[in-house]
């Protein structure tokens, strides 16, 4: 069990820029910890942490829709602010807003920040949806670098000291997406979750993303299943085949209250739900 304590915290710093924050954290000293929203750190602060580095004044919190249709979200934007933003509500049939409605309660969503959540990076509702939308993440380590969110967790970036400064959602045309999760209770971390995105052009499927999260490993794309849907569309037969294929290609594990076998079963259930939801939304249009 993780030991938690706040009594030993003796220093609270408020850097005013990414560079100032970076200089405070670059040594990787385990006694220093970056503070974004605080919803995680208040209850899971390791006992060796003696210094908090509050990022509120150092990092952006704005959400901006660019002329090309892309959306930039600052690291300190809260889940509530993101969910309510008009451009986010419209992106890919509102999948980000739908998903964020499943994260904790409003009392948490008014505090949780996107940057803090991405940096934490586990048992996440957000990550699979952002990967399905081809999001890139900008991190700062003395200079800024932007990488696909899917690669952020694969490479060394996530393990080394760094700051998440924002996320970028590229423009999408004719994208419909759906999110589904399974958890013990509505407020609990997901046992597994899925996000599917299907782009259409003249009733033809042009692009597909199928991403499973909380497997409990890092989020995974079901690339063979994506190809199947690209080739065969969203017919009942194709969806049925996608369920079986996704179960074979997504690697699940036994941890966090569920066995690998149970998760693998749920992979198929959630992929079917998401794809059917996309079909239903297309009919609604």
């Amino acid at each position: 069990m993780t030991r938690t304590s706040r009594a030993q915290i003796s220093e609270y710093l408020r850097p005013q820029s990414p560079d100032e924050a970076w200089r405070l954290i670059e040594s990787g000293a385990p006694t220093r910890r970056l503070l974004a929203g605080g919803t995680d750190l208040t209850i899971t602060c390791p006992p060796e942490v003696t210094t908090l580095i509050d990022l509120a004044a150092a990092l952006p919190e704005d959400i901006a829709l660019a002329a090309d249709g892309s959306i930039d979200i600052g690291a300190m934007a809260t889940f509530a602010e993101i969910a309510e933003h008009p451009a986010v509500r419209k992106r890919a049939s509102g999948v980000v807003t739908d998903m964020l409605g499943h994260v904790g309660s409003p009392l948490l969503r008014n505090v949780c920040t996107l940057g803090g959540h991405l940096a934490r990076g586990r048992l996440s509702d957000v990550i699979p949806v952002m990967i399905a939308l081809d999001a890139t993440v900008t991190i700062y380590t003395g200079s800024s670098v932007t990488i696909p969110l899917a690669e952020y967790y694969d490479g060394a970036h996530h393990k080394a000291p760094h700051l998440v400064t924002g996320i970028h959602l590229p423009p999408l045309t004719s994208a419909t997406a759906a999110y589904s999760r399974f958890a013990r209770t509505a407020f609990d971390f997901p046992i597994i979750n899925a996000c599917c995105r299907v782009d259409h052009e003249a009733n033809r499927v042009t692009e597909v993303r199928i991403v499973l999260g909380a497997t409990p490993h890092r989020a995974q794309r079901a690339r063979q299943t994506e190809q199947l849907i690209r080739d065969h569309g969203l017919s009942p037969t194709a969806i049925n085949d996608a369920v079986g294929l996704a179960r074979t290609e997504i690697v699940t594990g036994s941890a966090w209250v569920a066995s690998a076998e149970y998760r693998t079963h749920l992979v198929g259930v959630l992929v079917a739900r998401c794809l059917q939801h996309i079909v239903d939304r297309a009919v609604d249009r």
């Binding site: 706040r6 208040t42 908090l52 948490l108």
Partner: protein
Amino acid sequence: MRIAAEINGRRIEETVGPGETLLEALRRLGYTSVKDGCAHGDCGTCAVLLNGRAVASCLMFAGQAHGARITTIEGLPAEKAHPLQQAMLETGGVQCGYCIPAMILTAADLLRRNATPTRAEIAAYLAGNLCRCTGYVKQLDAVELVVESPEGGAHG
């Protein structure tokens, strides 16, 4: 460390611990309507308005409130019940009362941004405010009563 903030319309400067949560600081300063229920963000009894938004004060460090505007139930006018308080009394939404200050503040946050929420929207917004007495029906009735009053939900 020192923080400057506005609590219930009054500017304050106070010393808080670097590891102290906003919940702990507010209670130490005498705002005991802010309840220490679970201290893990699960029960919602510690909710306050931070710059108008309902937040779980147990999941924030006090230092994060530097420069912020904080409202607790003590900040509502004492001479006359707030419409949400009155509605809770009229519908029987209050039993032991432990969860009520936070629930009223959270409902006020909702009504400030959506004056005409549906019952489902009210229930969704109060989902993080647990009550072990009522079963929630009367409390949802109370918020609906305010929404349907002549002034509508403009009581946020």
